[in-house]
Amino acid sequence: MNKRGNVGDNPLMNNTMYFIIFIVFLSLSAGFIYSQKDGVLVWEDFYAKEIARVVDVSSPGTEVFLDVTKATEIAKKKGQNFDSIFSFDNENNRVIVSLRSGSGKSFGFFNNVNVSEWRLDLVSGGAETNRLYFKIDKSEEKENE
């Protein structure tokens, strides 16, 4: 088969290639912008740091209720399971906030305590006034390290 010069000569092939690449670029752009929609990264960062601040200034025995309505609103839009939004890694002293499924942000608290019994109270049964509850406990294990 003679292929001399045929690469630039086939308009249908050219247009198809352009179209495919255009779609790929467009999908990448749309995907990136969608992932930033609602400021998910900013709010995850905000909640992780502010919760760490509360833990840092708390003493063992403290019970904390925090209004996290904004977080639940975003998580609801993103299809995130409410039970997975907030968690605490007591082994590494980190708060983990995940407003979308699959990923999230974590931040360390320097206060050598354990956080226990955390749960999300859906006070109104929806995303209107929701609060995070957790309890600060003394950390015997870490104290003896």
Binding site: G5, K49, I96, F107, K142
Partner: protein, 151 residues
């Protein structure tokens, strides 16, 4: 091999890709500029840590030879979190030996001085504490950022 007619095609193709790269780069840049800034917390954290360390300093002898081993348990602080992204520095300003005590990243002292010039440097809180008639300089710094997690 005969390549007649192919040059124009590749020129067109390269131009097309370049234009899309520029557009995509612009979009990413704009979105990151708008949303990419971290919630500023280093200064707040250094102030919180300063207050905790100050109380601890007033109740303990930081310059005792055995104290450094017990610093974290005595002050109620977590070793893993503090050692990698924080600094606690105490210097006796009145002793002739200029005794120093530090935990964490020593370089943050320098970063604290230059923090206005570079945003990703540690932010610090400094203060002078008087204890038993002697003056001590206390510098506490934080350079902790939030980390992405995969769940």
């Amino acid at each position: 091999m005969n390549r007649k007619g192919a040059t124009g095609y590749w020129l067109n193709f390269t131009g097309f890709v370049l234009i899309w790269l520029i557009i995509l780069g612009g979009l990413v840049g704009a979105v990151l500029t708008f949303y990419g800034q971290d919630y500023a917390f280093k200064k707040v954290e250094s102030v919180l840590l300063f207050d905790t360390v100050k109380v601890c300093f007033e109740n303990n002898d930081f310059f005792d030879s055995n104290f450094k081993n017990n610093f974290f348990s005595k002050c109620g602080l977590n070793k893993n979190v503090l050692e990698s992204e924080h600094l606690v520095f105490v210097k006796n300003l009145d002793s002739e030996e200029k005794e120093e005590f530090f935990v964490g990243v020593y370089d943050y002292q320098t970063q604290c001085e230059l923090t206005d010039k570079k945003n990703n440097f540690a932010k610090c809180k400094k203060g002078i504490i008087v204890k038993n008639g002697e003056r001590f300089e206390l510098i506490v710094g934080s350079n902790q950022n939030s980390r992405g997690v995969v769940r």
